[in-house]
Symmetry: C2
Subunit: 317 residues, 2 copies
């Protein structure tokens, strides 16, 4: 394969595409996602491809396109099984884009969390660790796993859903997937917000209440973590339980897969060492092994999906 | 490598060794473990090797010895880090046995749960599933993982400790490892016995109480499961929570690794379909994927360790 590729990160609000020479970005485009008209997406992506290609010199061409998609994929990665934010259900998106381009360019596809993990492994915080994983702490909890230097998308190819390990079976709460006590139900930004909302309903004297003015809609994870940084009791209780739950999820992964490194990404990881340092101490107590995975902050942020998509040809799966 | 090998299963009470032609057992020996004198084990194993070798025809020889050990191993599988039941700590057991045999036979080593998983994959319930795992429900909860047709002993080589995934972080109980809510603390035979003992202290009218005559020492997992089979309320409450906990542990593994098949072994698996059928239904509700791992009973029972040890040359690691 040649050096040039295009990576697309297809989200519910925007499609971002970038031209790459290996891992170096040369040009980028962004377009609003055709909400409610998903059938327009293939032609839109093909158009963006042509526009990005045009910035190449004469005689230069693109080897392939990679797309990162927020949804479940078929085992052969040729169909989106469902991507509710995009409006796709059982859609052969790679083929539709290939057809729009007259069949001259191959389209590879990955789940967006898998693409992000792959990017962190190829040129981010996970570089050099051939068995490693990324955990993203955002609206949900996601992640991707690298085994033996290749993206691991499940032993049957169904995917990897780290957010749906069960860490609090009896204590709950019930996850958006309907199961009690999932990692995601405890460790998403949503979980922090839920608890902060419960807190302001009971206590009007906390920094959380002050910062949001009692308006539950104004609470986000950063507001709660900032209040914890300033020593607010309510915020610290939420934060400390969050650290303990995150430590349990990470320890479960360590005791099962024994990875060399775990990168923490997603919005909540913006808390940096204020979060990671107590998490490391918590994991230390729960890991079965003395020497275990390094726990580091993810590096690529919002670019992880687009970079991972552009580098998908480097993984066998 | 030639076809003949010897597998040893080294336990705290006995050492069992058997001569194999491929996966076919030709002869077996058993000796008491030299309790309190572990330094005698290498010579004992070498002696058993010579005795088993003697049953081969003239000109026939053994390619290698495999040993299955209940303990933590170094990453290169040349040292036992600790095996408390055997009295070994930081001991190069393979090398000690090789020396006793004058250096003419190589000794491969695996953790006993890993060896058992490998045996189930090579010639038991996991045959044909290149990504799969064994969970053993005994005094503790253990297991081994096969990925891409090879024994997976952790991304750093530290091992795989499925029993120390955390499934009940807040609800507990505290595991023998010191962490709250491990899979093992809920799903070992020991966990069933603990709860049955609590039950007879409170309720003298249950079948559990009747079957053990109120003697807590006489309770084992089978007694409790038999009482549940006969519809005893106390036993059914323990059994149903056990099924739910086991379902959560298995679902966590499915959502993380998406294996093709999971075999259930160890003493508690003796309950057969009475256990497995409700566990499958429970997992069905908690698995993120519609089509997920088959859940089957392990086949090789107590022979798994010895068979897996004898076939260790078939795995790369």
């Amino acid at each position: 394969m040649g050096a040039y590729s295009i990576g697309f990160d297809i989200g519910g609000s925007h499609i971002a595409g970038a031209l790459f020479d290996g891992a170096d970005e040369l040009a980028r485009l962004e377009r609003p996602y055709p909400k409610g008209e998903p059938e327009k997406a293939p032609a839109l992506i093909a158009g963006m491809t042509k526009a990005l290609e045009a910035s190449l010199g004469a005689g230069q061409s693109i080897s392939y396109i990679g797309i990162a998609v927020p949804g479940s994929l078929s085992r052969d990665k040729r169909r989106i099984l469902n991507a509710y934010n995009l409006g796709f259900e059982d859609t052969p998106l790679p083929e539709l884009i290939e057809n729009e381009l007259g069949g001259r360019i191959n389209v590879l596809m990955a789940n967006d969390a898998d693409a992000a993990a792959w990017a962190e492994y190829c040129c981010g915080a996970l570089r050099g660790y051939e068995n490693c994983l990324l955990i993203t702490l955002g609206t949900g909890v996601g992640g991707g796993v690298i085994l033996n230097g290749a993206l691991f998308t499940g032993g049957m190819g169904n995917g990897v859903e780290l957010g749906h390990m069960i860490i609090d079976r009896l204590a709950g709460p019930v996850c958006s997937c309907g199961v009690s006590g999932c990692f995601e139900a405890r460790c998403s930004a949503t979980a922090i917000i839920r608890r902060a909302r419960e807190s302001i309903a009971k206590n009007e004297h906390s920094l959380i209440y002050g910062a949001c003015g009692g308006d539950a809609q104004r609470i986000d994870a950063k507001l709660v973590i900032d209040a914890a940084k300033r020593g607010d009791g309510e915020a610290m209780a939420i934060f400390n339980d969050y650290v303990d739950a995150l430590g349990s999820g990470i320890a479960s992964i360590i005791n099962t897969l024994d990875p060399m490194a775990i990168a923490i990404g997603g919005g909540v990881s913006g808390a940096g060492e204020f979060l990671l340092e107590p998490v490391r101490k918590n994991v230390e107590k729960k890991s079965f092994y003395k020497e275990h995975a390094a726990i580091v902050k993810a590096k690529l942020g919002n670019d992880a999906g687009i970079v991972g998509a552009a580098l998908l040809h480097r993984t066998a799966k």
